[in-house]
């Protein structure tokens, strides 16, 4: 067995330490050691994007990098994105647009969207599709996810969200005020 190494990283705003083996992947450390099971393991080979987290401001597949490589890093998972009360505007937009079905790709999608909007506050649909092209969703056909990211970006820009597209516009619930990121 490999010898343990001590590593330290900031996860969701809090410094954490763990002893791990050099071959242990970041996803397993986050899920099994730190209990952040919101980050999903869909393939373990960097093909599906379900494990996307934000590391030092960039989206990253947590199943592809050894935990030891994240020494000193600042990591945000879906748990850290979620405010104490309610939802982050991107999450809220996913909920309002009906962009969640089985939910297994959802945290990775939300984190990819967050990284995109941080870098590009007004992404076009084409830019959104490119950004999430590494995140597989088998349920939704992506249509409502793209709409949710458009809406989430608008909410984060402080714009009143446009009514979501859909078959019954008048029945869409009112949005609560935009909370802090």
């Amino acid at each position: 067995m490999d010898h343990g190494v001590k590593i330290r990283m900031k996860v969701n705003g809090q410094w954490r330490e763990a002893e791990t083996t050099p071959d242990r992947l970041l996803i397993d450390l986050l899920r099994e050691e730190f209990g952040f099971t919101g980050t999903k393991k869909g393939c373990g080979e960097g093909e599906c994007g379900a494990c996307t987290v934000i590391l030092n401001g960039r989206p990253l597949l947590a199943c592809l990098i050894p935990a030891a490589k994240a020494e000193g890093a600042d990591i945000l998972t879906v748990e850290g994105l979620t405010p104490e009360q309610g939802l982050h505007p991107i999450q809220q937009a996913f909920q309002d647009e009906g962009a969640v079905q089985c939910g297994y790709c959802t945290p990775g999608m939300v984190m990819t969207a967050k990284a995109l909007i941080d870098e590009n506050p007004s992404p076009t649909e084409a830019e959104i599709k490119r950004a999430i092209s590494g995140n597989i969703c088998r349920c939704t056909g992506y249509t409502k996810i793209v709409a949710a990211i458009v809406r989430g970006a608008a909410l984060l820009r402080g714009e009143a969200a446009t009514t979501p597209a859909g078959v019954d516009r008048e029945r869409v619930p009112q949005l609560p005020p935009v909370g802090p990121g």
């Binding site: 067995m1 899920r31 099994e32 209990g35 952040f36 099971t37 919101g38 980050t39 999903k40 393991k41 869909g42 393939c43 373990g44 080979e45 093909e47 599906c48 379900a50 998972t77 879906v78 748990e79 979620t82 939802l87 999450q91 996913f94 909920q95 309002d96 009906g98 969640v100 079905q101 089985c102 939910g103 297994y104 790709c105 959802t106 945290p107 939300v110 959104i128 599709k129 490119r130 999430i132 092209s133 590494g134 995140n135 597989i136 969703c137 088998r138 349920c139 939704t140 056909g141 992506y142 249509t143 409502k144 996810i145 793209v146 859909g166 078959v167 019954d168 029945r171 869409v172 619930p173």
Partner: protein, 751 residues
């Protein structure tokens, strides 16, 4: 029903009841569950397609660091046999393996890494047997026998009228051979399960769309009375028909019972590809006869399916294919023969549409070819033959009033005309293709009751118990909406427990698009039942007759009595003081008549859904690449309980159908999967998706809850043929075997 007019909640795109947890990461999927002292079990699987097991040597694996136990068939406390339709499969193989991936042993260790490492130390001596890898080979005389009683799994026929004579006299006859490929469900959540065994009782947490069936089957394997095994459904990360029967939770439970410690089993993606069931590949020989005016007169259909190594849900798939293979048309003479054969390939299971996406590819391609031959507009040809109220299906089922097919064809036609077709460029050609379908809601020609129970507590809060799990399509939301509508409460005030054998009634399985229609009816009845009980009690309180008591969602009052009212909570408290318990129950089982074993004639389904879809594609004549640019889908769902969820089903199905038609295929070499996993299995990404226009048609079904039928599988069924027909319209080439890869299309340009 409450006195407010219908409908406050039905027909509204309310927020899903489960999206908050899924968005924040709080939703618990089985692989997220940790129990103190938990062990990890991994399955050791056959790497041979067909072999006799001579010896299973576990000593080295057992001696490996961190390993607690290595289990084989000898360690199964109960019966080592599964198969919900036909019991022909072992949990851990004893004498023989029949496909690459057949489970042979279970390695249980302190960590997942230790279990994984020990898998490499397992030694099994095999005597290889000749393998059979196509259904044609399997049925040849003298073929190696995969099962004792031969390789023919199931064979059925259908006969309506005199198809041979009608075809002989038909003015136009089109005969074509079609092939469809093996497809993986590719739900994003790999199989997982966690089990605890204490004091002779086991509890298993697993994604289970039918907890009661898993409980019954697993209990026999574990040698437990069913009441000593509790199956608790966890959040299901997609299933599309799979995640049924032998799965990770079964292995976790077996390990827990043997070691006495909690155990978790999680499949890797590679294992999920290798071990789980697939969509059956079909070979379809289709002869369609018509008059010169385009009236369909006869169809003769021969289907040969690769069922893989075990029966699994093959019989279910066979009957769905038989019922629907003639398409949504009134054809007086139909003959069919369907043959399902065992092979040493991965097991054919149930996947969204249960054989009907395969048969729809054939009948809708045939209709398109016929339209070309007759020089008729394909919309017109479909309208001429489309099922209408009173039409008779191939099984001889006279249809009722809820037949919205014509509306779906007409609305899609209008939409397609409005969008138009782009002009050809130097290398690209554009064209529209259309396809229609009908689909029977629920399981075919057998009882499949749905049950529901609703309780109300002393605070007046309602809890709905149903045995079926939400597979992601939103059934828990739809069921909550139905209960909320009847009980006059907002959806978020209805608590729901879905799929726990300790508290939920057996509602049947989440499959065959049956939940909204069948379980939805049971929920409706349970809510009405509870309301009646409460109203009766309230009438006593108010010294009035139940017929004169009004209900507003919170309280009852009399029609005439100003100010006199009693709340739901008061009614419940008073009932309890008298030792009574208020609880509404509902059971619904659609009526059917069995199919005649010789002729396949009968009325197998309670109701049918209908749809028409159209695809606009661009075909690159240089590369053969097909791009789907626009998509129009119109579905008769009876009544859309939640329109946004219906749209979600349609959009998701378009992506799945796009993969089925253009890119997805499990490639096997002598039963061995070539590169199992996502890297060589081409699932559609966001970049592949067309703009989708979803249209909802509502031909209400009198026996459905608020008129509802279903949409989950219907959404997928016409997608692939619409795309393939569009390729023909654009580029003049006909794809008869799926998927229509760029290479295949390119080759057709260069014969």
């Amino acid at each position: 029903m409450n006195e407010k007019s219908c409908c406050e909640v039905i027909g509204r795109s309310v927020r899903r009841v489960d999206s908050q947890g899924k968005l924040t990461g709080k939703a618990r999927y089985a692989g997220d569950i940790s129990v103190p002292g938990m062990l990890h079990a991994r399955v050791f699987r056959s790497d041979r397609p067909h072999a006799r097991i001579l010896a299973i040597r576990t000593a080295k694996a057992r001696a490996s660091s961190g390993v607690v136990a290595v289990l084989t068939h000898a360690d199964i406390p109960g019966k080592n046999v599964i198969g919900q339709v036909k019991p022909d499969q072992q949990v851990l193989c004893a004498e023989k393996v029949r496909f690459v991936g057949d489970p042979v042993a279970l390695v249980v260790a302190e960590t997942e890494a230790a279990a994984e490492a020990a898998l490499a130390l397992m030694e099994v001596d095999y005597a290889d047997l000749p393998g059979v890898f196509t259904p044609e080979e399997a049925l040849r005389p003298g073929a190696p026998k995969i099962h004792e009683d031969g390789n023919l799994l199931e064979e059925h026929a259908l006969r309506k009228g005199d198809p041979e004579q009608a075809l002989a006299g038909a003015e136009v006859v089109i005969r074509t051979a079609y092939r469809t490929q093996m497809v993986e469900h590719a739900y994003l959540e790999p199989e997982a399960g966690v089990a605890v065994f204490e004091n002779g009782r086991a509890t298993v947490w697993m994604p289970s769309k039918y907890a009661h069936a898993d409980q019954r089957e697993l209990a026999t394997v574990l040698g437990l009375a069913p009441e000593n095994l509790r199956v608790v459904n966890t959040t299901i990360g997609g299933c599309f028909g799979d995640k049924v029967s032998l799965s990770a939770g079964f292995f976790a439970a077996l390990a827990a019972v043997n070691t006495g410690r909690p155990v978790r089993t999680v499949y890797s993606r590679e294992e999920s590809f290798i071990a789980t069931r697939k969509r059956h590949p079909f070979r379809i020989d289709y002869t369609l006869g018509a008059s010169r005016e385009g009236r369909l007169v006869a169809a003769k259909i021969d289907i040969l399916a690769d069922a893989g190594a075990y029966s699994a849900s093959s019989p279910t798939v066979l009957f769905k294919a038989l019922i629907h293979a003639a398409g949504p048309y009134d054809i007086p003479h139909v003959g069919m023969k369907l043959t399902f054969a065992y092979t040493n390939n991965p097991v054919g299971g149930s996947m969204r549409g249960l054989g009907v996406p395969q048969t729809a590819f054939a009948h809708e391609s045939q209709i398109d070819l016929l339209a070309r031959k007759l020089g008729m507009d394909p919309f017109e040809l479909r309208l001429k033959n489309a099922m209408r109220p009173g039409s008779v299906t191939a099984t001889g089922h006279g249809l009722g009033d809820s037949v919205g097919l014509v509306e779906t064809i007409e609305r899609v036609r209008r939409e397609v005309a409005a969008i138009g077709t782009p002009p050809a460029t130097a290398t690209k050609r554009y064209g529209w293709g259309i396809a229609s379908m009908f689909y029977g809601i629920g399981q075919s020609a057998r009882p499949n009751p749905g049950r529901a129970r609703i309780e109300v507590d002393e605070e007046g809060r309602f809890t709905l118990f149903i045995g079926i799990g939400d597979v992601g399509q939103g059934s828990s939301t739809a069921m909550s909406q139905i209960a909320a509508e009847v009980l006059g409460r907002p959806v978020e005030e209805i608590r729901i427990v879905a799929g726990d054998t300790a508290s939920c009634p057996d509602s049947g399985v989440t499959a065959a698009s049956r939940v909204t229609y069948i379980v939805g009816n049971a929920v409706h009845m349970a809510a009405e039942d509870l309301l009646t009980q409460m109203r009766d009690l309230a009438a006593g309180f108010l010294r009035s007759a139940p017929g004169k008591v009004l209900y507003d969602g919170k309280a009852f009052r009399t029609v005439e009595g100003a100010g006199r009212q009693v709340s739901v909570a008061e009614v419940v408290r008073s009932a309890r003081q008298k030792g009574g318990e208020l609880c509404g129950t509902g059971v619904f089982d659609p009526s059917y008549t069995p199919l005649d074993p010789e002729t396949g004639q009968g009325e197998p389904m309670g109701t049918y859904a209908y749809a028409t879809q159209a695809a606009l594609v661009g075909v690159d004549k240089e590369s053969g690449e097909v791009e789907v640019l626009k998509f129009v889908a119109c579905h008769d769902v009876g009544r859309a309980v939640n329109p946004k969820a219906v749209e979600g089903q349609i959009e998701g199905a378009v992506s799945m159908g796009l993969g089925f038609s253009l890119s997805e295929e499990i490639l096997l070499q002598n039963g061995r999967m070539v590169k199992p996993g996502f890297s060589q299995y081409f699932l559609p990404t966001a970049l592949d998706m067309p703009e989708i226009r979803s249209l909802i048609a509502e031909a209400p079904e009198a026996t459905g809850p608020f008129g509802a039928k279903g949409v989950g599988e219907p959404a997928l069924i016409p997608t692939a043929p619409a795309i393939v027909n569009a390729i023909h319209a654009a580029a003049g080439v006909r794809i008869t075997d799926l998927p229509a890869t760029a290479e295949k299309v390119w080759r057709l340009f260069r014969p």
